[in-house]
């Protein structure tokens, strides 16, 4: 492992931890202004997290070690996954860092623990959340695999680093029309995985909309902070996968301060734009009924599959 790579790791981790809560509040602000409200401050999510970190942890008397280790497993999974997605700087090809399958299954591991923790306390809400989460994720996961299979067809690579490097050398490849379809399906997956409207509503604790929030209902104090932090990190990671694949300008391969600073500014601008899009998308839709959701997720798979068909038959 070169020094450059270690610096990359530290920088990526640092960026992810610092920036992740920002976009949670940003999307909230966009939604609030779409509804004609003022919305929270940009720093509100940071304040919430700080408050939770200071609070006491309470466990249910039913709960076991699953409840106790889940927050840690979740945040660790997300931070390890953070090393897989170069945000602003690509340190050259890696043998297995950035492997898309491993990337997806790290998310799956985090979800597995989260769903078990939902069942651990023995409350109905937690079980409901786990059940819904596992059902919906069983449809998002194939969609994600298909998206990455389509990308593997286009770029001949199963590694995010390789894809990003190819794109930073010839960013015009992102104008491939069949990739538009993939962008849509990746956007749907992003919405699904970050528990947003129309699949879930991150704002409420209503029984009808609860998927993600229900699962972490029994978490408290710093454990809850860790869970919310992991959700924020996951959102940022998926956002940057979308941005860096379909709008690949700025991601640099040279390790110099001006290059990285420039790329960081571009990355922030693109992320803010995407947050805007997500916020407006959420505001313009109503929550869908639970059993309508599979259709939306199947659309994501179908679009990815269409891309593959295009790539297979149109050389």
């Amino acid at each position: 492992m070169s020094v450059e790579f270690i610096l990359y790791c530290l920088m990526n981790l640092g960026l992810v931890i610092v920036l992740a809560p920002l976009f949670i509040s940003l999307i909230k602000i966009v939604k609030a202004s779409a509804q004609g409200r003022k919305g929270p401050s940009v720093f509100q999510t940071y304040r919430n997290l700080m408050k939770l970190f200071k609070k006491e942890v309470i466990y249910s008397s039913n709960s076991s070690w699953i409840m106790r280790i889940t927050p840690y497993v979740n945040i660790i999974c997300m931070l390890v996954a953070a090393l897989f997605v170069p945000l602003v700087f690509i340190p050259g090809p890696q043998s297995w860092f950035g492997n898309v399958i491993l990337f997806l299954y790290i998310f799956a591991l985090a979800r597995f623990f989260m769903a078990l923790a939902g069942l651990d306390a023995g409350s109905t809400f937690g079980g409901m959340g786990s059940s819904r989460e596992m059902s919906l994720s069983s449809l998002t996961e194939p969609a994600m695999i298909l998206v990455f299979a389509a990308l593997a067809f286009v770029y001949q690579a199963t590694n995010l680093f390789d894809i990003f490097i190819t794109l930073s050398e010839s960013p015009l490849m992102a104008f491939n029309p069949s990739l538009m379809l993939l962008a849509i399906s990746l956007f749907i997956i992003l919405i699904a995985e970050t528990a947003r409207i129309p699949l879930d509503n991150p704002e409420t604790h209503l029984e009808l909309t609860m998927v993600h929030e229900a699962m972490i209902l029994e978490q408290s104090g710093r454990n809850l902070a860790l869970m919310e932090m992991s959700a924020a990190v996951k959102q940022l990671l998926l956002m940057s996968v979308l941005i860096n694949i379909f709008f690949p300008w700025g991601n640099t391969t040279s390790f110099t301060i001006p290059a990285i600073a420039g790329s960081l500014v571009l990355f922030l601008v693109k992320c803010i734009l995407l947050a805007l899009v997500i916020g407006l998308f959420e505001s313009s839709l109503a929550k869908m009924r639970l059993f309508r959701l599979p259709n939306l997720l199947i659309i994501a798979s179908v679009l990815a599959f269409l891309t593959v068909i295009l790539e297979v038959f149109l050389p």
Binding site: N62, S64, Y72, L119, S138
Partner: protein, 657 residues
């Protein structure tokens, strides 16, 4: 020199296993536990020797040859253990060792001494026969040990034969397993006809039609034993009926022996393989994997749930085999090798985690005295060690990193991702569909094991027995622990293992290195934990779960297993075809006063209702008709039938030749 010692060691292991088996027969009626203890210890020693031999062959690649022709002349008792066979013997002996340790105490709660001793006798015989099926170099000895394997496992399944359910399961299993042998014999006869030898060696060129017939026949024969859909139905019957150590052996090993047969014939015996075989195997595998997990999700019988997961995993292994055949037919040998290794590695991994799950499920079932997961719950506090072991199995089978199940599925994903290298677009699309279904399958498997672990071990106990459960005895923890350790080890160190073994086979494997990821994770964890300790030293408080205002929370408020899987059943209702039956009974004819009602939701048992039962009914009708023809028990009609049969045979042979 080394060959001779290995040879002798192998025969020593055989002898020890036989001794272990016969020892219990000698003291059949002896009540003391020491008899079984001695027998199991000897068997453990034999398995240890087998592990040693087979791992040395896997590493060195020098085949081991021996025969028993002096003892059994003219019976084709030739044996050859090459790398492939040694790999399977390794899997058999590791898992058999763990099951042997587990069996020290597992049988304690059954009262019947004689039956328990016979059980140990048959178990050792069963393991021995599996080792010898794999080692066979001749179709005759293959069949002899194959039958020994089937018969001994049949008796083992029928351990609790006084239960009608068990007798039914045993009979079902026996019929299916004999059917499998029939198909095997057909294939062997075709091969013998063409090559003139019963030896399991590369056959000479033969016509593609006959070869395909032999393949289909073998595929069905091995498919029945391996539990490929639609030949799978015996698995969900036999596994719940059998004692758990036997379920572990059957699911972990016996169905793998069938897959060994398939791989052996496809790669080492058949002179050629065709593309459509590969596609057939791939599709059969995909269907089995998907339907296996779909049926598992609706199951509340813990062992039946695990049995359906065996079907799923056999499907995944078959996908690897199918990909291997497809890649071979396009000349992509490196990818073919990766797919084959994916299949083989998954075979070992599935053996490990499925036996682990069956054994721990056995401990749970003997404590809670029910197989229904809705009556369990809260066991993580009452059986903490068993819970951890089951958890490791659940994570492995859900193909989550860094455990072993993930590694083999990763290899399979990798080879499916390479479909862009195949020139034929149709095959590419088939592979992509299979890729999607595989992703769906593994996500559903994770959902199913969240359900299983959640309802069995988490929250508050849902029944009296579950509330009073105690931790299993030491041997029932020690046996599965061995398997759990291997599940973790083969996952975390997979990259190191494959880069060590890879050059010896001559291929390199594109595996992710788990060790750095795990160590990065461990360092981060340490930092977070230390950070928390430094900033906040308060102890976490323990309080009751919030029950929406109700003070005392009880187990009725928990989410049930049926509730958990309900959304998935709803999403996939086009497969389950749930039928809602709503019956209402009234006090009077005008139907005004309601007396009672009955609402029932039942899933269509597609294969049973539309495949198995119609066939069974047809066979029954034919035999009834034949029976009516033979009603008068006199000699003359029989002589007449004999005559007709011989005449028919002569005509048939005349037409064919």
């Amino acid at each position: 020199m080394i060959n001779i010692t290995l040879d002798m060691l192998f025969i020593l292991a055989t002898f020890l296993l036989l001794l272990a088996a016969l020892y219990t027969l000698l003291f059949l009626t002896k009540k003391s536990k020491i008899v079984r203890g001695v027998s199991l210890s000897v068997a453990l020693l034999a398995n240890a020797i087998l592990i040693l031999i087979s791992s040395s062959i896997v590493y060195s690649g020098t085949a081991l040859e021996f025969n028993f022709n002096q003892i059994f002349p003219m019976m084709g008792m030739d044996f050859l253990i090459d790398r492939l066979a040694a790999f399977f013997i390794l899997a058999v002996s590791i898992i058999a060792a763990a099951v042997t340790v587990y069996s020290f105490h597992y049988l304690d709660h059954y009262p019947q001494t004689r039956r328990k001793n016979i059980h140990i006798f048959l178990m050792n015989l069963f393991v021995l026969s599996m080792v010898y099926v794999v080692a066979s170099r001749n179709m005759i000895s293959f069949l002899i040990f194959w039958e020994l394997m089937s018969v001994s496992s049949f008796f083992l399944v029928c351990f609790e034969f006084e239960k009608a359910e068990t007798r039914k399961a045993g009979l079902f299993y026996f019929i299916m397993t004999q059917l499998s042998t029939v198909f095997l014999i057909c294939a062997f006869v075709i091969l013998y006809n063409e090559t003139g030898s019963f030896e399991l060696a590369r056959a000479s060129e033969m016509s593609s039609g006959l070869l395909s017939m032999a393949f289909i026949s073998l595929f069905i024969g091995f498919g029945i034993k391996a539990g490929i859909i639609p030949f799978h139905k015996w698995l969900p019957y036999a596994h719940p009926a059998a004692p758990s150590n036997i379920s572990a052996l059957m699911s972990g090993l016996m169905i793998k022996v069938a897959l060994y047969g398939l791989i052996r014939f496809l790669l080492y015996i058949f002179p050629a393989t065709y593309l459509w075989w590969g596609i057939l195997i791939l599709i059969a595998g995909t269907v089995s994997a998907f339907l296996g997990v779909i049926y598992a999700l609706k199951e509340h019988d813990l062992k039946r749930l695990l049995a359906y997961h065996s079907i799923e995993n056999v499907g995944i292994i078959l996908m690897g085999i199918g990909m291997c055949v497809i890649f071979t037919s396009y000349g992509l040998t490196a990818l073919a090798m990766i797919s084959l290794v994916a299949a083989l590695f998954h075979t070992l991994n599935h053996g490990l985690f499925k036996s682990l799950l069956f054994l721990t499920a056995g401990s749970v079932i003997s404590e809670t005295r029910t197989r229904n997961i809705e009556e369990m719950g809260g066991l993580v506090k009452r059986m903490p060690k068993t819970a951890v072991l089951f958890f490791i199995g659940a994570v492995s089978i859900s193909a989550l990193p860094p455990f072993n199940g993930f590694v083999s599925e990763f290899l399979l994903f990798h080879s499916l991702f390479q479909s862009s290298l195949i020139p034929d677009p149709i095959v590419q699309l088939i592979m992509l569909v299979c890729l999607t279904v595989l992703a769906l399958t593994s996500a559903l498997a994770a959902a199913c094991f969240v359900k299983a672990f959640g309802t069995v071990f988490l929250a508050a106990p849902r029944s009296e027995h579950a509330a009073q459960a105690k931790e299993a005895s030491w041997s029932m923890v020690a046996g599965p622990s061995l398997l759990a350790a291997l599940c973790i080890g083969l996952g975390v160190f997979s990259f190191q293992i494959f880069s060590w073994i890879g050059p010896r086979i001559g291929y390199s494997f594109p595996l992710p290195d788990m060790l750095p990821a795990v160590s990065v994770g461990a360092v981060l964890l340490l930092m977070i934990v230390i950070g928390f300790r430094l900033t906040d030293s308060r102890k976490p408080r323990v309080s009751e779960t919030w029950g929406c205002g109700i003070n005392s929370q009880n187990s009725k408020m928990e989410y049930t297993a049926s509730g958990f899987s309900q959304p998935i059943i709803n999403i996939f209702s086009f497969i389950y075809q749930p039928q809602k039956i709503n019956k209402r009974y009234f006090m009077d004819i005008q139907e005004t006063v309601f007396r009672e009602g009955k609402v029932e939701i039942r899933m269509v048992r597609f294969f049973e209702d539309y495949v198995y039962l119609p066939i069974a009914r047809t066979v029954q009708r034919i035999s009834r008709w034949l029976y009516s023809q033979q009603n008068e028990v006199t000699l003359d009609p029989f002589i007449f039938y004999e005559f007709l049969a011989i005449l028919g045979l002569i005509l048939l042979v005349g037409v064919i030749v």
